[in-house]
């Protein structure tokens, strides 16, 4: 029987060590081993974006990353987006803007939107739509998602 592999990584700012099989994805490790179930599995082949996490500062679909690749990396999941007890402006704007219905795509979209607003403080509608094209939402038609990301950008600029 081949051996499991020990992985040392940093998740949401905390040092984390876990034991995994090489065939397990980062998504599986986060959900089933580490217990962070915020990232969701919608397709397991990189097309829905529900498992989006930040991987060394870039968004990836964690179903297409092996857990063993997390060695030495910095990972941010939806559980690490809020600032302590205070919601991130994107989270707050999603609530006020009714940008979620069933909510299953929401963690991936908020993580992706955060990565966008971290690098572009005032993205156009077109830029938001392009950036989020790998995040499928079947409930909202995207309208309120795009508007809420725009609203969050505005609120974050005001706060600066």
């Amino acid at each position: 029987m081949p051996r499991k592999v020990q992985v040392q990584t940093k998740i949401n700012g905390e040092d984390v060590e876990f034991l995994c099989e090489p065939r397990q994805s980062l998504l599986e490790a986060l959900r089933d081993i580490v217990g962070l179930t915020g990232a969701k599995e919608g397709c397991n082949d990189g097309n829905c974006g529900a498992c989006t996490v930040l991987f060394d500062g870039r968004i990836v679909t964690s179903c297409l990353v092996l857990a063993v690749e997390a060695e030495g990396k910095q990972i941010t999941t939806i559980e690490g987006v809020a600032m302590g007890n205070e919601l991130h402006p994107i989270q707050q704007c999603f609530l006020e803007g009714a940008a979620l219905q069933c909510g299953i795509c929401t963690p991936g979209i908020i993580v992706a939107a955060k990565a966008l607003l971290d690098q572009d403080t005032n993205p156009s509608e077109e830029k938001i739509r392009l950036w989020l094209a790998n995040n499928l939402c079947r409930c909202t038609g995207y309208d309120k998602i795009v508007r809420s990301v725009q609203a969050a950008a505005g609120r974050m600029q005001e706060a600066r």
Partner: protein, 766 residues
């Protein structure tokens, strides 16, 4: 296109309330934006093991033998099951409040016995320590098949000599059983007036055939379940579904245990749209749990979702409409064959009832056919059956308008159904909002905005859906801090906890935030039908209103006792109890809440209902498109959705339903389809190749909420979940016609199809 000098989201409100019509943050919001909300697949239990299902590689085959011995011998495997592990269903018919279904069909779909009827049909299942091990063990199960030819479309399955799916299926012809073995489960008819006389009177008759592909609901969360068959014989289920009681009752029926032995805990659900009403996994996980002694979790893959859950029927529809030169429709005829998939029960009944539902036509004949084919057994999908039908009718209505030189909305207004219009299936309409909808469309800035540039066109279409009532239960208790706990049984797919709580808050004169809704398990709340039929805000809303009134009345009695007055002399308004007999007593809801324990004990309100008074909903679209005449690709430039909500409880979530339904309709119209090879294998069973719209494929979806109150609901609610998906394919087909001059008669209208239509029109040889 969107230089906006208008409101993108309008509410044409007719009545004002304190809480209803406002836009509070949803009660489950914080959990859902932080990743804390627990969906079905998120559950973890001590000793949990994982199940995987072996599925047929063939669309139609006889199972000659199944050998599971090698899988059973695998060291990580804890249990293996086949259909032999389920009780024999016999000929029992069960009624789950959804129409009757023979139990053997439900059971046969859960685990095949004898024959497999579609690629992806479940045959056996394995539970093992890890999902990877379970999947590897499936490869050790050996099955011998006798492969049979498949039949994949309704017209093909109806022909003489077509492969027969069910040797025991005999056609029901106009309500009567016959001895004819065929793939047509039933043929029925709606007749109104004298069709021949109607067409004889017509100045213009247009008849066309339309075909629509099988499409999927496409919710992002796959089906999942976790089941523990406990040592005391109780079966505990945790799953995402549209109705915990529907899952309980179906699972109990298939397992042949009393319903009280099954407890279903509804987890958060990641979209359903009708697809999460049927049971697929629970009985399998249950018998795996019984055999292994462990709780068993099964989660579908995305390919399983496409190949083995219930999509919506593909269809073949012929519609013929006759009109007078002044635009008055005098006769309409429809021939509609819907693909049920592997087992009878296509959404042909509602489809047939919706095909001419928007219009007041004197003479109508509708023939409906429920046809089995070698595709997955179909399920509901948002206004099931109506979208296919409206694509046909609304395309022809547009053609009539063009030929008669009448504005397409004026033509619809000329014929619009209204209160008292007799439908083809018999009953007369109660108060409906078809005329108000059409007038709102006509008056909207979008309809009157110029659309310039080559290859651009504007299309309109409307649609109808009945909505549903069905049972709901609710109980409420008062906390000492003046808040109220509300227990209900409708899984919340799109913010209904809040729309229900808001109605209770309105009755009690307190803030929406002061009502705390909980969706309870089947042991903890009275029977509640599925979240579907756009019924939750209507029916569970009425249950909450009645429970709140019960609470209020009990509090009035308490106040009367405290003040020593008659309860008839206590009035309640905007959260304050007042005596009306001359004395000047008054106390707020919150202050009274503090005193309940010391003045007679806690108060609980309750209601359990099965409400009449369902109000149907009309919806409409104005769509502007541009077609690339060299590639056939359609770009949506502007899209406005209109819908009669009756009353919008939480307008943001009503808009969300309209926008989401519109975009599902757009996907259905332009790109989504089950692309089957001749052997019946779906070739595009991934979210890469089954092309649902991405954010980059769409403009903003503007909305107009029309409010024609439903007299059957205390605040006028109709229900808004479904009618919005009905008009988009027809609206886009009509827009494509006005852009490049081709009438599309097939869904999806993907680039290949549009290009071929353009070539045909231009006479380009193949």
């Amino acid at each position: 296109m969107s230089t906006q000098n208008y409101e993108p989201n309008m509410v044409l409100s007719t009545t004002e309330f304190d809480v209803i019509g406002t836009r509070p943050v949803r009660h489950d919001g914080a959990d859902k934006v932080t990743g804390r909300a627990l969906y079905g697949a998120d559950i973890e239990l001590a000793g949990l093991i994982h199940g995987a299902i072996l599925r047929s590689p063939h669309a139609h085959a006889r199972i000659k033998s199944i050998d599971t011995s090698k899988a059973e011998a695998h060291p990580a495997v804890k249990a293996v099951v086949t259909s032999a592990d389920l009780p024999d269903a016999g000929d029992e018919i069960i009624d789950l409040g959804e129409g009757a279904t023979p139990l053997k069909y439900l059971r046969g779909n859960v685990l095949a016995s004898g024959k497999v009827l579609y690629k992806g049909h479940a045959i056996a299942a394995v539970a093992a320590n890890s999902l990877h091990d379970a999947q590897e063990a499936l490869k050790l199960i050996k099955i011998e098949y006798e492969v049979l030819p498949p039949t994949l479309t309704a017209p093909d399955a109806m022909r003489d000599g077509a492969p027969i799916l069910h040797e025991g299926l005999k056609t029901t012809e106009l309500g009567k059983p016959t001895d004819k073995v065929s793939n047509v489960a039933s043929h029925f008819q709606h007749v109104k007036g004298d069709i021949a006389a109607g067409f004889a009177e017509a100045d213009l008759v247009i008849e066309r055939e339309f075909n629509t592909a099988t499409v999927h609901q496409g919710y992002i969360e796959p089906h999942n379940t976790t089941v523990l068959w406990n040592n005391d014989g109780r079966v505990q289920v945790w799953c995402s579904s549209q109705g915990a009681f529907a899952i309980r009752d179906t699972t109990a029926a298939i397992l042949e245990v009393p319903v009280s032995q099954v407890k279903v805990t509804p987890m958060e659900i990641g979209g359903g749209f009708g697809g999460k009403i049927p049971v697929y996994l629970e009985p399998v996980a249950a018998v795996l749990s019984k055999k292994s002694g462990h709780p068993v979790k099964i989660v579908m893959s995305r390919a399983d979702e496409f190949e083995a859950t219930g999509p919506t029927p593909g269809s073949c529809i012929r519609v013929k409409i006759g009109v007078k030169n002044d635009g008055k429709m005098v006769a309409a005829q429809a021939w509609m064959a819907y693909e049920a998939g592997a087992y009878p029960g296509a959404m042909i009944v509602p489809g047939s009832m919706c095909v001419f539902a928007a219009y007041d036509i004197e003479n109508i004949v509708i023939d409906g056919f429920d046809v089995v084919v070698n595709k997955p057994s179909t399920a509901a999908y948002r206004a099931p059956g109506a979208t296919n039908a409206a694509f046909a009718t609304e395309s022809i209505v547009d053609e009539i308008a063009e030929k008669l030189g009448i504005d397409p909305l004026d033509l619809r207004l000329r014929n619009a159904a209204t209160k008292g219009t007799r439908r083809a299936d018999g009953p007369k309409y109660p108060r409906i909002g078809c005329v108000e909808l059409l007038e709102a469309m006509k008056n909207h800035p979008h309809y009157n905005a110029p659309l310039e540039g080559p290859n651009r066109g504007r299309g309109v279409a409307i649609g109808f859906w009945f909505n549903a009532g069905l049972p709901s239960s609710c109980s409420m208790s008062v906390n000492a801090d003046g808040t109220v706990m509300l227990i209900e049984g409708s899984p919340d797919i799109g913010g209904t906890r809040t729309s229900i709580a808001m109605q209770a808050a309105e009755v009690l004169g307190i803030a929406a935030e002061d009502v705390r809704p909980t969706v309870a398990d089947t042991d903890s709340v009275g029977f509640t039908a599925v979240t579907g039929g756009s019924r939750v805000t209507f029916a569970t809303g009425i249950a909450a209103i009645k429970a709140a009134r019960d609470l209020r009345d009990q509090m009035i009695q308490r106040v009367a006792r405290i003040w020593d007055v008659k309860s008839e002399d206590v009035e309640f308004e905007k959260g304050v109890f007042m005596s009306s007999n001359g004395t000047k007593n008054s106390i707020s809801f919150k202050d009274l809440a503090k005193q309940l324990t010391s003045t007679g004990g806690p108060i609980v309100g309750r209601a359990a209902i099965n409400p009449p008074g369902v109000g149907g909903s009309f919806s409409g679209n104005i769509a502007d498109v541009e077609v690339d005449p060299e590639t056939g690709k359609v770009t949506i430039l502007r899209f406005t959705a209109f819908q009669d909500a009756g009353k919008a409880i939480h307008p943001s979530y009503v808009e969300g339903q309209m926008q989401g339904g519109s975009v599902q309709g757009i996907g259905w119209a332009l790109n989504e389809e089950y692309f089957m090879n001749p052997e019946g294998k779906m070739m595009n069973s991934s979210l890469l190749d089954y092309r649902m719209p991405t954010s980059l494929d769409l403009p903003m979806i503007d909305t107009v909420i029309i409010e024609v109150p439903n007299p059957g609901h205390p605040y006028g609610v109709r229900g808004v979940g479904e009618a919005n998906i009905v008009p988009p394919p027809a609206a886009l087909a009509n827009a494509i016609y006005h852009a490049v001059g081709v009438r599309m008669d097939r869904l999806p209208m993907n680039p290949v199809a549009v290009m071929e239509a353009i070539w045909k029109k231009e006479g380009v040889p193949a």
